[in-house]
């Protein structure tokens, strides 16, 4: 690695500094309490997957380049030079971490490994060593935001096809658009994912609840956040924020996508609208009596996988239980304490990388499989696209013989017609 590249990378490193990051870089005592926290370590037993080991890689660079000790006595803290070999190690650490923050629950100081891994991800981008596909997907999202007019026509045609589907299954009242788009003055802007499964059931529930809603032109997923590029994350987010402001909505409701929800909730800043997840919206409709569900629709015990970015990292926990309480009398918890739920093993962009990471995802998530099996449930529900894909892959690979379902789809299917 030449001098110029290294300087540029260190500049990127420095750009990640803030008060919390400095805390985390200064104070790990390597006590080893976090050993059992990571699902990858728990499933594989390899030391390099222990949270403290992962972030010590970052800390060694920090000690070398940002502390006087790195010049005076580098071996003291095993300070490391930034080389091509280091970059490879960073890749291994960052793209085997799903950013679930379970280790943060274990750490006596509460060190945030996901945040420290964001330094690794940014250095990888700087070196051009990040997974290209994620950058490509992020760029596509940004491009779509810039030239919306080009995509509009095709989008609307697609929506018309889905509307027919909604009408067929749920018989929306005549004269109303089953999937309203671009409605100024609507109460709620729903941000979905590309794919009928994220739009059709949601539409059915919004319509049944009599919500004044409108569908966003953009898909919720934020590939900028997966690849760890702060400026792209912001650009992708801003498309939706601007749309919400233009349509003057009171609420932006994010579909079942953990990353999208957390980014939207915490990075959109102070806005005239509130941010909710679709799980929160559904729980609210049930509470207000705006929708009713048929408990006989799903026989057999149901368990629920808390998506890390929605539950542990954004606080939507009780709402899901409330909904499931209307779907079954036989709900099985995976853990007594939501903070300790195992990650599905698909977050942090791993599922988005597809088959490339499949083998690793299966090996690293054995503990999740054990946790699901222990519940004895036949239906495994969740509220996140990534989790759903990963859990379905696990279901096939480990022959768990459960039915993996989106919670929102279950709500739609159990709707009692008014």
């Amino acid at each position: 690695m030449d001098e110029k590249t290294r300087d540029d990378l260190l500049q990127l490193f420095r750009s990640k500094f803030n008060r919390a990051m400095r805390f985390y870089l200064e104070s790990c005592t390597r006590c080893g309490t976090c050993t059992d926290a990571c699902h990858v370590y728990a499933s594989t037993g390899q030391t390099k997957y222990i949270a403290a080991y992962r972030h010590e890689l970052i800390r060694r660079l920090y000690k070398r380049y940002f502390k006087a000790r790195g010049h005076l006595w580098p071996s003291l803290g095993e300070a490391r030079e930034l080389t091509d070999a280091t970059i490879e190690e960073l890749y291994e650490a960052a793209y085997s971490c799903t950013g679930c923050r379970r280790c943060m629950v274990y750490c006596p100081f509460g060190i945030d490994t996901q945040m420290l891994m964001s330094i690794a991800k940014l250095l990888l981008i700087g070196k051009g060593a990040e997974p290209e596909i994620l950058t490509l997907l992020a760029d596509t999202s940004i491009e779509k935001g810039k030239s919306m007019e080009l995509f509009k026509e095709g989008f609307l045609t697609g929506i018309k096809r889905l509307e027919a589907e909604v009408v067929k299954q749920w018989q929306t009242e005549a004269g109303e658009a089953a999937i309203p788009v671009d409605v100024e003055g609507a109460d709620l802007l729903y941000v979905a994912l590309a794919g009928a499964h994220s739009i059709i059931p949601a539409a059915a529930v919004f319509n049944a609840a009599g919500e004044k809603w409108t569908l966003s032109f953009f898909e919720a997923v934020n590939f900028g956040a997966f690849v760890g590029d702060p400026s792209k994350t912001k650009l992708i987010l801003d498309r939706i924020v601007n749309e919400a402001k233009r349509l003057k909505v009171k609420e932006v409701c994010v579909c079942e996508c953990g990353t999208a929800y957390r980014v939207m909730k915490y990075l959109s800043g102070s806005q005239p609208f509130k941010v909710t997840s679709i799980t929160e919206a559904h729980a609210r409709y049930l509470k207000e009596g705006r929708i009713r569900l048929d408990k006989t629709k799903f026989p057999g015990p149901i368990t629920y996988h808390d998506p890390c970015q929605i539950a542990r990292n954004a606080g939507v926990i009780d709402e899901a239980r409330y909904i499931i309480g209307h779907l079954t009398d036989d709900f099985r918890e995976m853990t007594t304490d939501a903070r300790y739920n195992w990650c599905c093993g698909g977050g942090g962009g791993l599922v988005a990388l597809g088959d490339e990471t499949l083998d690793f995802r299966m090996k690293s998530s054995r503990v999740k499989v054990d946790q699901v099996k222990a519940t004895g449930a036949t239906i495994l529900s969740t509220a996140c696209e990534n989790c759903h894909t990963q859990l379905s892959n696990l279901n096939d690979h480990y022959k768990m013989e459960v039915d993996v379902q989106f919670l929102s789809s279950m709500v739609a299917r159990a709707l009692v017609p008014a």
Binding site: N18, Y53, E56, F109, G110, A311, D318
Partner: protein, 236 residues
Amino acid sequence: MQTVYYIILVPMVYLAFGVFIVGIIARIAKIWREPPNPTPLLIHPVKKPGWLWTLTDTFLFPTVRRHKPVLWVFLMAFHICLLLLLIGHLELLADFALFQVIPHEIFLGNGFVGLILAICLLYFLFRRFVSPVKDLSVPEDYYLLILLFLVVIFGSEMDWARSWYEYGEMTVEDYRSYLLSLLVFKPELPYSTTFSGHSFMLILHVFFANLFLMFFPFSQLMHAILSLPMNKLRRG
């Protein structure tokens, strides 16, 4: 030799405290000048009141108790004894009515505070020779534990000699006049501190303690100060 003793017991102590205090202030100032994190870093569900849970996490290490109970016992014993040790050293400066709520002789603990500390430090050190903690450790983790062990062992030896073997050549009054003279910047070394049979213990104790203080602001020992704000971020 007396010159070396003098350097360790007087100028080096001033230097060590100077580096310790200025170092900590400089490091904290540097960290606090950084902008806050743009997003909350909470772990949910958030329990109320947040400040109380922050204090619990900071001072009682509940997560360690849950996941590494043996380590927790040693950690609690160690940190409680550190606190007692701090009080013990303050009492070498002057009498504090507050600390005498439970009447005790100076130095408090009758030698057992140092003994417990030494045992805890050996435990911390030895567990770092075993995987997986071995694989996480870096040299400074060992150096710091060894350094602290040396500080504790020489300090305790003086205490043990007086408490358990009625050694009377170096008394609490001697320590007090030495420490007070340092405090008022008129350093004086009582004859017994440099010429008695246990002088070497005092000198080594002070020497290693000086090194420890000087290293403090630049090492993971800053967790002593940063643990509270970090736990605040997690608990809200």
